[in-house]
Symmetry: C2
Subunit: 339 residues, 2 copies
């Protein structure tokens, strides 16, 4: 493995000159710069990561924090796409990404503590936003910079984040159903402690209000089929005239679809259904699921970009909104034709 001394020797200069040359320092003359760069290339030189970081005291790795495992979360392809987006941008900028995971909240926090203490993480990216997140507390406490993917709960103005406009997305999804003649539309969610679910619900409610239609909310987890059937039975007793559902994400939508499809009576009713995330699930569902695409890879990229441009601490935080887009498939049945 070639060191900077090797490069220097080959170029006939001192290590310091070599270092400066390769960093494009203005103060080095063109001929020597060229010599050095040539030598470096010939030796296939890359600066030692650890040595460089040690010397500059500026670490170059980004810590990507995954949410504490709920089975559901982890099997959600969403995250991997965000990670890919982050990693693409980072590696183009010569940074590494490293992951922080944990089976419990305590474990995750502990792992992050260690990472901070080791002092080689430049910045964190949180792939989720949760109420009272102990991780966020930790990061604030140690005064470590971070970017959230999702809308922050605390210190919104001081925290950089990347998100979809989930309120708008919720509005649009509901509007999509309304436009196709649906009047009784239910919003289906599972956990309001997630910012994203709350936002989408808000958007849904906005549309309902605008059209003077009732907001019908249903919290359900569909943990198993029987319980799903039961809660839907209960639901339809209360709201027999519901024709459409806005599900807080595709997985939720699919679970509902499953329940509805399995009951001959419900099945014929051809309920309309729209989900969020445009995940692979939506393509594989039957019927295929109309869904609001949110471009997770893009979210990751933007988050990484924010992290890469290190702005001074006193500067205002950045917020990037990634647009969404409804992808039409076959789960929505118009009650009347579009005007």
């Amino acid at each position: 493995m070639a060191t900077i001394k090797d490069v220097a020797k080959r170029a006939g200069v001192s290590p310091s000159t070599a270092s400066r040359a390769m960093h494009g320092s203005k103060v080095i003359s063109k001929p020597t710069r060229d010599k050095v760069i040539k030598a470096a290339r010939e030796l296939n030189y890359a600066p030692d990561f650890n040595a460089q970081n040690l010397a500059t005291k500026a670490s170059n790795t980004i810590g990507v924090v995954l949410p504490v495992d709920h089975h559901e979360i982890f099997s959600n392809p969403f995250f991997l796409e965000m990670i890919r987006g982050i990693n693409e941008v980072c590696s183009k900028n010569g940074s590494m990404t490293t992951l922080a995971t944990g089976i419990s909240s305590d474990e995750l926090v502990h792992n992050i503590d260690v990472m901070i203490a080791q002092g080689h993480i430049r910045n964190f990216i949180l792939l989720y936003s949760e109420k009272n997140d102990p991780v966020v507390e930790r990061l604030n406490h140690f005064d470590v910079q971070y970017v959230i993917i999702g809308k922050p709960y605390q210190e919104v103005n001081k925290t950089s984040y990347v998100d979809n406009d989930n309120v708008q997305a919720g509005t649009d999804a509901a509007q999509y159903l309304v436009d196709r003649g649906h009047q009784r539309i239910c919003f289906l969610y599972s956990d309001l402690s997630k910012m994203v679910q709350g936002d989408r619900m808000l958007g849904y409610q906005r549309t309902m209000m605008q059209h003077q239609l009732p907001s019908i909310l249903l919290e359900a987890r569909f943990e198993d089929h029987a319980s799903g059937v039961k809660s839907m039975k209960h639901f339809f007793e209360q709201y027999p005239d519901v024709t459409g559902f806005v599900a807080v994400d595709d997985m939720m939508a699919l679970k509902l679809q499953q329940v509805l499809h399995n009951d001959p009576e419900w099945k014929v009713k051809q309920f309309s259904l729209i989900g969020f995330n445009n995940s692979i699930f939506s393509e594989l569902a039957h019927p295929t699921l109309t869904s609001v695409a949110v471009f997770p890879q893009r979210l990751g990229e933007e988050a990484a970009k924010i992290v890469m441009t290190d702005r001074p601490a006193e500067e205002l935080s950045t917020a990037v909104i990634v647009p969404h887009q409804i992808v039409t498939r076959h789960s929505v049945h118009p009650i009347r034709s579009l005007k």
Copy 2:
């Protein structure tokens, strides 16, 4: 951030003593060891990652290599679960994991080259096994240790790997259908350049042979619905009496299911279907999908364990086989009752 000097000062010893004490060196007396450890704890000390690695020349991060992006692969939750398994084990051992991704094969290889040159990756874990993988070539060339999740193509005896017994899994899946009275069973796959697909196919064929039943192979990608319908139409013309399918993975199975379900004629036939991976898809399908579970998290953990125990170079490579298990759901319909 506390350094080792701070710890040393507080404990009233020299940095070298502090270092040795914290590494449990035999040569340090119990009382000083205790003093040092106490001081370290009080200062919340953790050795600087970069400094430590630089001094010991032994890096502590594991590079996790994701396959080059095909949309399909990246939206497969499988990978995230493996990553989580790896990360759990690594962080328990004080290691970091860092990701290598790439949009193209060239980019991926380049990223890996850089990582190797920077010299701070101790080991790589490849999350896939592909024919003629340029990454493997690279790693061999630079003599970097790595573990493959999946069965290696080259130098099988010299390469450590973790895998399911996919041949056996294929055998079992086919047997499952045979046991339930199916005689004409088709194996459905998409890409034989993946080791895993070849293995499962082999297993399927073994069962077919044993029962003197014909092997019926179908390569398809179901890229869009129309093409899916077309190829199945073609298929059934040739093999009208097929009643069961072994699909090479759940996604494949779901795509088939979709095609079959959408055609009224095929639908009534109630084909039987078994997939692999027991991914979340299988729970969300309709009907729910019987699938061979392969425990990706476990695969990740085992791979990480291998990497963590650094054995001398001349030692034989390790291979760990993670068991699989058929998870019964509702996509298989017995033709006759089980004897």
